[in-house]
Amino acid sequence: MLAAILSLGGIGLIAAVALGFAAKKFAVEVDPRELAALEVLPGANCGACGFPGCAGYAKALLAGSIDLNQCPPGGADTVAKLAHILGVEASAATREIAVVLCQGDNRKAQIKYHYLGLEDCTAAQRIADGPKICPGGCVGLGSCLRACPFDAIEMTADGLAVISREKCTGCRKCVAVCPRNVIRMTPYEAAVHVLCNSHDKGALIRKYCQIGCIGCNICKKTIPDAYKIENFLAEVVYEQDAEAAEAISKCPTKCIRDFSVAYPDGSVQLPAGTDKPHAA
């Protein structure tokens, strides 16, 4: 009994001394600022900064090789904290979020064929350029939803991806996986968007989608500064969109939407009060 206590205790003592010595002798010097920076970062390891995870970004920050505003998920808050830790001037970062520029779900946009294959937009796109007639619209199989590390994307019952303005951190993962380039990065402050991504002529679009932009120019005539039309597709000019919302009621196909009022039909309903722009 006593022998057992002594021998086990002895082994423990020797091991403790050895470990203690090793911890001192072989300690790796870590800049305390790196640990502090890592603490401040969101920890999602999403890769939006272009480095392998948050630790990689923290290391790069200390090396001084990059700007502080490379972490979209962290937002302005993180930039301020990082600036404090590193003792530098905070550079202003505009918050960007992703928006799906399409409202053509399975009810509103016509399909070319009935797709039965893999639940993946890129795989569907390889088969005769996707199941929908529209060459630009949302494929609707949810590849962006699966790519989103922040649970910010929902698929509506009729197969349209909708991105939450609040949950989206701007990491661009969805932009990268979308085979149709229908997800765009827009300034968070801009809530009015032209939700269409087809450059086909109006007459053609009317044949396959009830809610696509037909390039009729009415929005541009109403608020000339806030819209531009290229190749039969209107787009909000985000630098000067203060009055963009006034053209919404004029749009004949209802493809301009104000996200601070409502999301595309039948989709995510945001809790009241969460839709106002952040005082960043």
Binding site: K112, Y113, L116, G117, L118, D120, T122, A123, R126, I127, A128, D129
Partner: protein
């Protein structure tokens, strides 16, 4: 004696009884031809005619761009009414020359018949290229490329593909029965050009009449007729080589690496036309068949004939088809409608009823390994597909995803209806895209 074949493969019901007894008929000319400029593997040709121009049958209307490319010719005489994007069998809109037939069907005066005994192999290859001859089995790979291997790769065995393993299709079968001389002239030309010592025509045992006919014609010649066990995908190049020679084409390699070249029997006939009659490839035999068509037929069609015309010639539809397929049911292209034209690779038009098309939801893999047994190149389809779906591309490549020939045998046998071949194709495309992007950077 048991017949030769390859390892793996499947036995789908062949359904050839619909059309195998029907002689080839000449298809009446439609009023308008839509001739796509991309009809072959490789660079699409470029239109060399203008709207309003009068063309004769056999005139070049699209010129080849690069070595792996062939010219495209006018299927009849008439006026060019448009050069624009039209629906293409590949599912998208691609450039095409639209010709309004004038009804005269007059040959171009520039075509030169030739005596093959006066031509050198290089002259023959050039004539084949100018005639736009491509592999007629379905893939439409330019024939002149396969006829000009680099000098260090000697072709010792020349195999002709009379297998036609796709269910429903009988075009090659009828060609062999009705035009053996035309095929054998092409066989002799190819043997002369490639200098092969051994020439084999592989025919599946479900065409005993064709085997007997060719054995009669080839008696006393160096051409050997080899009956093969009935199995899909025996008509695939590498599987046919395995069946006939017992040799395996190395991973990532070409048949010429083991001294073999494979051509379809219909390609041989097209080469005969190109050399002896000086005629470009503007027509082919196409099987219009399936339960949704009133009168299945083997038709000799001009390239660019709209599918709607073929349906009309075959007595119309019995009912609205559930699936329209260009080619066979295993590897053919499903079509969105009848407005697309037949191309050089169109070996068949298959019309299935809605009740013939199964569409079961996918269920989990039960590890039965039927796909592994069926795979004709000994891959593990279920493993590769699972990796591809999770975007684990390095692992998929390690399991030889790039060697998949996309024959669809795995998807066909899968009791859980997992879209295996689609997943593997997705993985292959992603692997290629990744390779390309890393090469650029």
């Amino acid at each position: 004696m048991s017949l030769k074949t390859f390892a793996g493969g499947i036995h789908p019901p062949d359904n050839k009884q619909w059309s195998s007894h029907k002689a080839i008929e000449d298809c009446p000319l439609p009023a308008e031809f839509i001739v796509p400029l991309a009809q072959h593997i490789g660079a699409p040709s470029v239109a060399c005619v203008e709207v309003g121009q009068q063309v004769s049958k056999g005139d070049e209307i699209g010129s080849a761009k690069g070595f792996v490319s062939v010219p495209v010719h006018a299927p009849t005489s008439g006026e060019v009414t448009a050069v624009e994007n039209r629906p293409h069998p590949w599912g998208t809109s691609l450039p095409a020359v639209v010709i309004k037939a004038d009804g005269e069907d007059r040959w171009s005066t520039e075509l030169q018949p030739a005596d093959p005994s006066e031509l050198s192999p290089d002259e023959i290859i050039e004539k084949v290229r100018l005639a736009g001859v491509v592999g007629m089995g379905g893939a439409a790979f330019p024939a002149h490329v396969k006829m000009s291997p680099p000098p260090e790769k000697k072709i010792s065995t020349l195999i002709f593909n009379g297998v036609e393993c796709e269910p429903y299709l009988t075009a090659d079968h009828r060609m062999m029965l009705e035009e053996p001389e035309r095929i054998l002239q092409g066989v002799a030309l190819l043997q002369y050009v490639l200098g092969a010592e051994q020439v084999v025509i592989g025919i599946e045992a479900n065409k005993p009449d064709a085997i007997a006919l060719f054995e009669k014609h080839c008696a006393g010649t160096p051409v050997e007729v080899m009956p093969l066990q009935v199995k899909y995908p025996q008509g695939a190049e590498k599987q046919l080589i395995a069946a006939v020679t017992g040799k395996e084409v190395p991973s990532g390699g070409l048949p010429m690496d083991i001294g073999v070249a494979v051509h379809n029997v219909s390609t041989a006939a097209a080469i005969t036309d190109a050399i002896i009659h000086g005629r470009p490839l503007i027509e082919r035999v196409c099987t219009v068949t399936g339960p949704a068509i009133r009168e299945p037929k083997n038709l000799r069609i001009r390239i660019g004939t709209p599918l709607s015309h073929l349906v009309e010639v075959c007595g119309g539809l019995v009912e609205e088809p559930g699936k329209i397929i260009l080619g066979g049911p295993m590897m053919g292209f499903t079509q969105l409608g009848f407005d697309v034209p037949a191309t050089r690779g169109t070996s068949g038009l298959l019309l299935l009823r809605a009740e013939d098309v199964s569409s079961h939801p996918e269920s989990p893999c039960i590890r039965c390994a039927r796909c592994v047994q069926a795979c004709p190149i000994n891959l593990l389809p279920t493993t590769i597909a699972a990796y591809a779906r999770r975007d684990l591309l390095a692992e998929a490549a390690e399991y030889c995803a790039m060697d998949c020939i996309e024959c669809g045998s795995c998807s066909y046998v899968c009791p859980s209806t997992i879209p295996l071949v689609q997943a593997i194709r997705y993985g292959k495309a992603a692997i290629l895209a990744k390779k390309r992007s890393t090469q650029v950077s």
